[in-house]
């Protein structure tokens, strides 16, 4: 009936091959011999894997709270403004900008001898109170993570602002107004009314932010290539590079590990999405 053609395709291109990968993660390619958890052990003892896990976690720990905090603050400010729609559109613009275009401008801005360093040097020369500024090689030092986080924020802030605004608009207006009449200040109405009312949104937006971290590989790869500075070597690089080197045994194991982790995130999130 209605669902059949679509579901056949999903089976063919997503489900069936995924289970094939699960099977392959327990065998040796070539002779198809069952090797138990050997492939998994190779992954867990791989130094690149450990590095990538550490980096991905750090990226998440920095990127997710920053994204949630900035976008929540902006949406609280935006609420009820006359220019709200225009401003939200402007913040959403990065969604329309192909990654390749963004990367082109980034190359000019953040090179060691690029525009950003140039401006910072000028500023520190003008204002003598500031210490002298030494040019930073953003992509080849630990600053690389900052670049990645900034591009993540740039790309996703508008998206999250819309989600927050949708959550905010679902709150009953009357309660807040009543509280204001009763003399509650801004902080009190945030603490007692808005924040508890948004607890669902906090959860949903948090999970979506985590998933966006994993979807932000495209920009990172374009800026820094397949073997970037070691602070921004993420799990996606590892998968991509093993793919290019035809290391399919390990790749199968890593695919299974990563999808199990993400599956947990999704299932948590889903409970909420499905309630709708």
């Amino acid at each position: 009936m209605f669902l059949l053609p679509g579901f056949t395709g999903v089976m063919l291109f997503y489900l069936f091959p995924f289970f094939e990968v699960v099977r392959r993660s327990f065998v040796k390619s070539g002779n198809n011999a069952f090797v138990g958890t050997d492939n998994y052990r190779t992954v867990f003892t791989n130094s690149a894997f450990l590095l990538a896990v550490r980096n991905t976690l750090l990226y998440m720990a920095v990127g997710v709270p920053l994204l949630m905090g900035i976008s929540l603050m902006l949406s609280l400010l935006l609420r009820g403004l006359a220019l709200r729609r225009k401003l939200v559109s402007a913040m959403l613009l990065p969604m329309a900008v192909p990654a390749a275009v963004m990367v082109l401008t980034l190359q000019i801005l953040i090179d060691r001898q690029g525009v950003v360093n140039g401006v910072l040097t000028k500023v520190s020369e003008q204002i003598t109170a500031l210490p002298a500024f030494a040019a930073i090689d953003y992509l080849n030092t630990e600053w690389a993570l900052a670049v990645v986080v900034c591009s993540f924020l740039w790309k996703n802030t508008g998206y999250m602002v819309i989600l927050w605004l949708a959550g905010l608009s679902a709150l009953p207006k009357e309660v807040e107004e009543a509280a204001q009449v009763d003399g509650a200040n801004r902080w009190q109405s945030w603490h007692y009314i808005i924040r508890p009312g948004l607890s669902g949104s906090f959860f949903t937006i948090g999970m979506l932010s985590v998933l966006q971290i994993f979807k932000s590989y495209r920009e990172v790869w374009m800026v820094a290539g397949s073997y970037p500075q070691e602070h921004i070597y993420f799990l996606q690089h590892l998968l991509q590079n093993w793919y290019l080197k035809l290391e399919f045994d390990r790749m199968a194991a890593l695919t299974v590990i990563l999808s199990l982790v993400l599956l947990c995130v999704c299932l948590l999130l889903q409970k909420r999405l499905e309630a709708g």
Partner: protein, 283 residues
């Protein structure tokens, strides 16, 4: 009075944030019209031909349409890549509608056994990053002998579950009583779908189209993994290959990539915002 002041203040902060977000894009039009010599001079430090720092001219001193001339008149390869992108995006969008619309309709209106489980599966699939599906899709594409063929990018994308979810959300906005009334009047299920569902679920459909367009116009990982021949690549993968020493030319390509995306963005803005809100809010 105090309230007004506060609104001004909030507007100023948000406007500053919005301006910061949009600022890098201001480099693009100027860059595409900048004479090569000027570009070479201001970017010399980046190109390794000088000390100090690169600067940027938002408005070029010696504007030229030379890069566009070279791109549009002298580079036949550009058209092939451009039409690759257009063709892939169009095929994917069309396929997603043909396959996805009935699926979304089924999830929104029918209660069948296993519906909740299946729907959950669709949601999980839409949230997973591409890298997780890289090996699985490679295996199936090899089996179907589609590797290194545009279909390797197009077919999996057609069955992406994301547009199904968005369109589903659009359909759930429809009042169930209308459908019930139509059924009582003897309308068939297909008739209801085509004559009531499609017009009333328009917002969700538009949102899915806009979101998909922006995603597939910008394809990078899939063609990189599944298409070996450059002749099949989309523009979004060709652009990063242009060396920074040819920045003016690269900016001209960037303009051509950006125009259709901005066009769709401007046209479909309401739908886009609606669609994003669908993702997060429970109803």
């Amino acid at each position: 009075m105090r309230k007004k002041k506060r609104a001004w203040f909030a507007t100023a902060i948000c406007a500053a944030a919005a301006a910061l977000i949009c600022a890098p894009l201001l480099m693009i039009p100027g860059g595409s019209l900048m004479d090569s010599a000027e570009m070479r001079r201001i970017l010399a430090p980046i190109l390794g031909e000088g000390s100090g720092f690169a600067v940027w001219h938002l408005i070029p001193l010696y504007p030229t349409i030379g890069h566009f001339y070279r791109l549009l008149i002298e580079s036949p390869a550009f058209y092939r890549l451009f039409w690759n992108t257009v063709g892939m995006t169009a095929a994917i969008l069309l396929g997603q509608l043909v396959v996805g619309l009935p699926s979304a309709w089924a999830f929104a209106t029918f209660r069948f056994r296993g519906r909740d489980f299946l729907f959950g599966l669709y949601v999980v699939l839409m949230l997973l990053p591409f890298q997780v599906m890289l090996l699985p899709q490679y295996i199936v594409l090899q089996k179907l002998q589609m590797y290194n063929h545009p279909a390797a990018v197009v077919l999996p994308a057609i069955f992406s579950t994301f547009p199904v979810f968005i369109m589903y959300r659009g359909f759930t906005q429809i009042d169930g009583e209308i459908l019930e009334a139509a059924r009582l009047d003897g309308a068939g299920e297909w008739q209801i779908f085509l004559q009531i569902g499609l017009p009333l679920g328009k917002m969700g459909i538009q949102a899915a189209i806009v979101l998909s367009f922006l995603e597939y116009w910008n394809l990078v990982e899939q063609p990189m993994a599944f298409l070996e021949e450059q002749a099949m690549w989309p523009l979004s993968l060709y652009l990063p290959q242009i060396d920074i020493s040819q920045a003016g030319f690269a900016f001209a390509v960037a303009v051509m990539v950006l125009i259709p995306a901005l066009f769709v963005f401007a046209l479909g803005q309401d739908a886009l915002e609606e669609g994003i809100a669908y993702i997060g809010v429970k109803q």
